[in-house]
């Protein structure tokens, strides 16, 4: 006798809320409850696994009363006997099955839990493992689960039998494989199916890359000893004859001339057939097609093998497909950097033919900005001949920030603020600001650079600087400088990778020799007076093809720059020239070799023959020659010259060789690098005295880390070649100095 449900009430629930139950109920208030619906409701509620017993009643005025007996909930899970797999890994597996504290206990699922836990062990090679679960009742309708595990011995590989390898010995082939018979540590002797598949693939490409074009693995077997603790792997193969290449022909699209195709293929008749070299050749051709807009071109090698002469002729069928166009370029992940700051680096435009070369150039330009820890341009196909480019970036800290209030007996309370931000508020502009003031020293240096002053990348950078030292407060230093000036410079891109820049710099330098007997200082003041204003021209040329700003693994950066005072505008006329060259190359996935050399020299002209003593070059410390005290190379003034400060020189030569690798043992080492370095260099009186045999050399371990506060670097070093009197320093560190 059906009836219209006026209301739904639930009796007997302790832990299950009405809404939870209501979700599974196939009936609603207001519907008529038929016999069919009643059965279906009971079945639906049983399927939830929450209840031991369910009964439906009809209330006095047609309410639907649901009476249930809840199953106990799990109060505690105790796991014993597990050594190999940690308890919380097992608990995670149990959570995956819905077996956690607080959840409803369903005895039917215990069988599945035992199977799954045992499978956790089987995957690790513990084939003989056993799992038992005992359930213990607790008050208030709760239960405790006791899971005890007997792990048994792990199955290790007893023998790998290779059948049919006539040309290469067992040891040679087994050397290539991940799975090993005897192993000192690690788990290479534990069988795993993926590792075996990988090994079979390794054997296949080992043979296919050495001329065995018809090599085939007939079958492979994995067997267990009866007590399930020893694994026997056998691989049965047929080598087939060893082939050499015969003629190579092309058919299909004629868009690329054959000579160029052969050069891209980089294969000649007579060399051994090698699958990987053929694939490399095909990719080179495909990339060439992508460069001219055919992004989905296909190159299909038709190989036919002449068995008796053991020669392989290949006909490459070129199917260029249709021109491919870029419909839209989107940017993801730029939570701080503005859209146009990325888009202006792109060499690929929307509604234009797709060019792989342009996309590659854009990716390395974005990497060179230094704003992102990772840049990935995802090419998504939206039609046969259209793609969307999605630039996926991960932003990283792009500046350093130091602020502080200090006190020292020397110059009383001091306050300093330092900001260096390469991507100010995501605008792509660069700001450098440092202000500090104390009783003795007040200085400020503000610089602003806009890399895209014009839309084609002409950059403009300006800056003012001021520093005033009132010498009476600082009685110990031998001389102090007061500086006031401004600089402006414009940068031109002269090609995809090279830039030219020119600028002006006006500066007034006040020299005050505090102690009476600092000879160089007094001579300078006698000749040129205390303060001199200098107007000088700055200029330079730079080539930069690095594939990333902070830790490049490929590329080359060379620069020539000079600064020369304009004659006639001041007595203190001198020039300085800087030559820098750095080169990175990838040795393997982790290791990168960096070689760099720099030469700086200068000279006075007109009345001045040597650089003013305060403009000389110094070397030593992080950023030049690690392992020696900062600025200590090139000797010191003697006491009778009235100072003990480093002397400096008019020429500086530095070279570095560095092996850079990511920090081991941590997964995300994207902004941390270790390096083993050999630094060498020295300071010379002038350019002609530069002679590398007088280099000071040190080697050691460097560490660099891009932190939110700024780039942090420190190094432990040991001098190799030093002279008497050099001041070495094994531990050095710097914060905020871009490396």
């Amino acid at each position: 006798d059906d009836f219209v449900i006026s209301d739904i009430q639930v009796q007997g629930t302790e832990r299950i809320g009405f809404e939870t139950l209501n979700t599974y109920l196939p009936v609603r208030v207001g519907e008529t409850l038929t016999l069919g619906l009643e059965q279906e409701s009971i079945r639906a509620l049983f399927r939830t696994g929450f209840f031991n017993d369910i009964a439906l009643f009809r209330g006095d005025n047609n309410e639907l009363i649901i009476q249930v007996v809840e199953r106990p909930s799990i109060a505690d899970i105790v796991i014993k006997g597990n050594r190999l797999i940690k308890t919380d890994d097992l608990t995670k597996a149990l959570t995956g099955l819905g077996i956690t504290q607080g959840k409803i206990f369903n005895p039917v699922e215990m069988e599945r839990v035992i199977l799954d836990l045992r499978r956790q062990y089987h995957n690790q090679g513990y084939y003989a493992a056993q799992v038992q679960i005992s359930v213990e009742d607790l008050p208030r309708n709760r239960v405790a689960l006791n899971i005890d595990i007997t792990e048994g011995a792990p199955a290790s590989i007893e023998r790998i039998s290779l059948v049919g390898n006539n040309t290469y010995t067992d040891n040679r082939l087994k050397g290539q494989m991940l799975l090993k018979e005897v192993v000192v540590f690690g788990s290479a002797d534990k069988y795993s199916r993926p590792k075996l598949q990988a090994d079979l693939e390794t054997l296949r490409s080992f043979y296919l890359d050495r001329g065995f074009a018809e090599f085939d693995i007939n079958s492979s077997q994995v067997a267990l000893s009866e007590d399930l603790t020893e694994v026997y792997i056998s691989v049965n193969m047929t080598e087939g004859p060893q082939y050499r290449l015969d003629q190579l022909t092309f058919s299909g699209s004629g868009r690329i001339p054959e000579a160029e195709l052969l050069e891209l293929l980089n294969l000649e008749a007579g060399e051994l057939f090698s699958r990987s070299r053929i694939i490399a050749g095909i990719n080179a051709i495909r990339d060439r097609f992508s460069d001219i807009g055919f992004a989905f071109a296909d190159v299909d090698p038709r190989i036919d093998l002449n068995q008796d002469e053991q020669l392989a002729t290949i006909n490459f069928v070129l199917d260029e497909g249709s021109h491919v166009y870029v419909r839209r370029i989107e940017i993801e992940g730029n939570t701080r950097t503005r859209d146009h700051v990325l888009r202006r680096e792109m060499r690929q435009f929307e509604k234009a033919p797709y060019s792989l070369q342009a996309v590659r150039q854009s990716t390395s330009r974005l990497n060179r900005l230094g704003y992102f820890s990772s840049v990935n341009v995802d090419t998504r196909r939206v039609a046969d001949d259209e793609v969307d480019l999605v630039i996926q970036v991960e932003e990283q800290p792009t500046g350093s920030f130091t602020a502080g209030i200090g006190f020292s007996q020397l110059d009383g309370i001091s306050f300093n603020l330092g900001i260096a931000e390469k991507n100010l508020l995501g605008s792509g502009n660069e700001l450098e600001l440092s202000i500090n003031s104390s009783v003795a020293i007040q200085s400020a240096d503000i610089g602003f650079t806009n890399p895209y002053f014009t839309k084609d990348g002409v950059s403009l950078s300006t800056g003012v600087f001021y520093s005033k030292v009132n010498a009476s407060e600082l009685n110990i230093t031998d001389y102090t400088l007061d500086r006031l000036g401004a600089r402006i410079s414009v940068g031109y891109p002269t090609s995809e990778l090279t830039r030219l820049n020119m600028g002006l710099r006006i500066e007034e330098v006040g020299v005050n020799c505090n102690t009476s007997n600092f000879v160089d200082c007094n001579n300078f003041v006698d000749d040129f007076g205390k303060t001199n204003a200098v107007l000088s021209l700055t200029g330079g040329w730079r080539y930069d093809s690095r594939n990333s700003f902070f830790f490049p693994t490929e590329g080359h950066r060379a620069s020539v720059s000079a600064q020369a005072a304009i004659p006639g505008t001041s007595d203190v006329t001198f020039y300085k020239v800087f030559l820098d060259e750095a080169w990175w190359t990838r040795i393997n996935d982790d290791f990168t070799l960096k070689l760099s050399a720099s030469l700086a020299f200068g000279e006075g002209y007109g009345d001045l023959n040597r650089l003013p003593f305060y403009e000389r070059f110094f070397a030593g410390g992080i950023g030049s020659v690690r392992g020696f005290e900062p600025n200590s190379l090139g000797g010191f003034y003697t006491p009778d010259e009235g100072s003990n400060r480093p002397r400096g020189g008019d020429a500086r030569a530095i070279t570095t060789a560095e092996l850079v690798f990511p920090m081991p043992l941590i997964e995300d080492s994207s902004n941390i690098r270790l390096s083993w370095f050999v630094d060498g260099g020295n300071i010379y009186a002038n350019l002609d005295d530069v002679d590398p045999s007088a280099f000071r050399i040190a080697t050691g371990l460097g560490f660099s880390w891009i932190t939110p506060v700024g780039p942090l670097a420190f190094s432990f070093s040991r001098p190799i070649k030093t002279e008497k009197g050099d001041k070495t320093q094994s531990f050095q560190f710097s914060l905020g100095v871009p490396f």
Binding site: I292, H323, F349, P353, D385, E386, D456, L500
Partner: protein, 96 residues
């Protein structure tokens, strides 16, 4: 300061229409057939969907030198090609 012209990145815009494609173009083709023959119709008139203008211009002359500058196609109301003409044979040069 200094009259050197700065380097400007090459730019290209539009769809490359080659002579081979024009040979296969004939009145009566459906919009879909024209689309797969010539390429995406980026130059479709914003308010008159049956007027398509294929244009191509670039700053680097040796890339696709034989691409047509402008091709206009008119479709009838049922969407079949009524008439077409190459308005500019030479692709337009973008002066950077």
């Amino acid at each position: 300061c200094g009259g050197i012209k700065p380097f400007k990145a090459p730019i290209a815009q539009g769809v490359v229409i080659e002579q081979a494609m024009l040979e296969e173009l004939q009145v009566g083709l459906s919009q879909q057939q024209v689309r797969s023959l010539l390429g995406p119709n980026y130059g479709q008139h914003p308010f008159r969907p049956n007027v398509w203008d294929y244009t191509y211009s670039n700053s680097n002359r040796n890339l696709h030198p034989d691409a047509a500058g402008r091709l206009q196609l008119i479709f009838d109301d049922q969407g079949f090609l009524e008439s077409w003409q190459v308005i500019e044979t030479e692709s337009r040069k973008i002066k950077l």
